[in-house]
Assembly symmetry: C2
């Protein structure tokens, strides 16, 4: 009987746990789920899954848990992964995470290999499915002898149309802190047609591009932090265009830019008397003083927003002008803003979220010498707020990878991310069977 | 015979050295000037002033120099002042600087007092003359029994009208790095009419105000970093408005904001291949890709700049679109921009600079109960690029303070900045005799 240890029972754990619990009888797995919040772990699991408390301050207890496992899957915040990895290395256990491969993790590569273990990181949605689905097409283009000249890739976690009841067409389906701090403090770096480009944070949400995804409608994308690192990750040396970004519904970025320009997404300092501030006072603290003009008028004037602009409805819908207290003591502007947004952008129990991913590959056809633009896209709607599309797209790749490892179908040892065929092929195959499928289309 | 040791022979040292050399025979002073660049020290001094090399990496040599002095004046970059202060404390020497009183310096306060020494910091222009001239008026208003409700203070180092040959009406008369990084990364904090206000860096140069200074014309001011700290410095607890800022000629800030919005003042990352970049490529790296549009067109379009806007002339005058190499290896955007600006904003040998300072005090008259708005302003034109108004206004307060200390007219012991009467009264008196005078005016 193989024992799978899951660390973390947060937002993305639901579908992973359900997947493993469903398969456990057939494969004879024992499952343990740990979280610092034991009630949360209880709520996310069903017997005979065992639950246990996780306290990252007590490594001996963590090590005791890991020592009894055959495989560890960690959904803990990324900052705990070096700690978990060190314990796994010491106790000879393989590890799967959906977090970025950190520099600390990279340093362990040789030791992981020497011990015959597999540490598989970046095996969720983004990073995760983005790597797999992009590399499958990139490898195919190369196998066919064409020359890849450009790669663009965008992912977004949004709200499904049926649950979309707000003018931002957005709700939090993922860590809200990361959403508020997206791109801060910048810049974004990428290459376009051979030119290295920087977008400062001040311009990030004004340098968007649009894309249509069949069956899911129109989106806009803004650049992610450092697209250049994907040159090495995907072996794209010499590529003329590389650009990665985040998808939102059209109009989101222009409105979000108001918060950026206000300074409301700054996470570098704590605001004075934040504990007593109302939403309205928070916004007013970033605006010029005027003895009689309202906060609304000052904001619209400062940013040249016409009274009939859609921005007015978007901003007012968020209740940013209300006299309600924010309720955050010693908050940075970003923390205050997150608290305000959380009241409105919360996924309700019955709400369905939406995950969309869109890649564009440009290559010179080896026969005609002409440039072909090929897109590959995926969209997935969630079941409800417990089994979101986000939880499914993060959790299923982890669960499938765990199954492949425990059943001996993934025999690699060392430190990996799912950019290689041996990993992405079986993973994408089962993801497709679970409804996570990519559709290709040649443009023009 | 008293021995004055001056550390640093840079931009602001010329007038200080000349002042002390002129007075040395009468007071029987011996003067030594040290710099890491001995040629620079030689150029700034006249016999019998002694010159010596300064190497801040060798504290024993620095201590040997300090041990032979009666008073130390340091013009070294502020980061070296803890080092100098520790040596002075150890060797029992008083110290005068024009730098901000650092936290490290503050920790020495008791020891300085116990040893019977005086460490006088912030004794240049800004900080320095700003403290003295403001506190003289603030103390007088209080002595007369009125209630101070507001204090605004702006200082600027610019180019004198006769030497002003560019559409920015600006040249570097001071550390260019600090000019390029002014306000970065923000925010500015201040209080206006009882409301705490934050201005993010993205809005700093669009939230200016105008002021006229008799005899010197019109200026615009943008907010300095943290005006709140002046509440404690000046004992202004409960004041309803406190705002400090920097003066430029009207139009400067709007144009400078283009660099801010471009991301060209970012000092947080090193640009790829900066060593090979031309001015034009530097600017282009922040702009969207277009197969045929020129860099100029892209910039003007991105920032909605009309072809007949004064911004066009300002930007083109700086040669930012030229194919000349910037010439900075491993440069941050801010370092690259500084290098480009340095080619055009350099003070030529015959150029005269201009220093302006403007305070506004608002108080409730104790008799009438009405608000009185009183301004106090000063302007000073430099002699040439060697004896700038900047060097004079930084150097003279240091020199006068040195004289007051050595002649026993300033008998304080402990850590001070020139906000108290015993210090500012004799200093302002001699500064006035040297042509640095403030003119008061009641507004309305």
């Amino acid at each position: 009987m193989k024992h799978i240890l899951i660390l973390g029972a947060g937002m993305s754990s639901g579908t992973l746990i359900r997947y493993l619990e469903q398969q456990a009888p057939a494969y004879g797995w024992k499952i343990s789920v740990g979280d610092r919040d034991l009630a949360l772990a209880k709520q996310k699991t069903n017997p005979p899954t065992r639950i246990f408390p996780v306290d990252t301050a007590h490594t001996d207890q963590l090590e005791a848990e890991i020592s009894g496992a055959d495989l560890v899957i960690s959904l803990l915040p990324a900052r705990f992964h070096p700690l978990v990895a060190i314990a796994c290395l010491k106790l000879g256990k393989s590890l799967v995470t959906a977090s970025y491969e950190s520099p600390e993790m990279k340093k362990m590569a040789e030791d992981v290999k020497a011990k015959g273990l597999l540490f598989l990181n970046e095996c969720g949605l983004d990073p995760g499915i983005d790597h797999m689905s992009a590399m499958q097409v990139i490898d195919r283009i190369r196998d066919e002898g064409h020359r890849l000249t450009g790669f663009e890739s965008f992912t977004g976690g949004l709200v499904a149309p049926g649950s979309d009841d707000n003018p931002w067409h957005y709700k939090f389906s993922w860590n809200p802190t990361n959403v508020v701090l997206a791109g801060w403090p910048g810049p974004a770096k990428f290459i376009q047609c051979g030119k290295l480009k920087y977008i400062p944070y001040t311009r990030l949400f004004r340098r968007t591009e649009f894309m249509d995804i069949d069956g899911f409608g129109r989106f806009e994308g803004y650049a992610n932090r450092d697209s250049l690192q994907y040159i090495e990750k995907y072996n794209l040396q010499g590529i003329e265009t590389i650009y990665r970004g985040t998808l939102r519904r059209p109009g989101f970025s222009q409105a979000w830019n108001i918060f950026v320009q206000l300074g409301a997404t700054d996470n570098s300092y704590v605001m004075e008397n934040s504990g007593a501030m109302t939403h309205r006072e928070f916004i007013n603290s970033f605006l010029y003083y005027h003895p009689s003009d309202s906060v609304e008028v000052k904001l619209y004037r400062a940013f040249h927003i016409d009274q009939d602009s859609p921005l007015v409805e978007m901003l007012e819908w968020l209740d940013i002008f209300s006299n309600e207290q924010v309720g955050i003591a010693y908050g940075t502007p970003a923390q205050m803003l997150e608290a305000i947004l959380g009241k409105k952008w919360k996924l309700q129990p019955e709400d369905k979220d939406l995950v969309v991913m869109w890649h564009k590959f440009s290559y010179l056809d080896k026969v005609t010498g002409k440039t072909i633009n090929l897109t590959s896209s995926m969209g997935l709607t969630g079941e409800d707020s417990g089994h979101t599309a986000m939880a499914k797209t993060v959790g299923l790749p982890l669960g499938i990878a765990a199954k492949l490892i425990l059943t001996g179908r993934l025999n690699l040892t060392g430190l990996y991310i799912p950019t290689i065929r041996e990993i992405y092929s079986p993973l994408l195959e089962e993801l497709s069977a679970a409804g996570i499928t990519f559709t290709e289309k040649v443009l023009n």
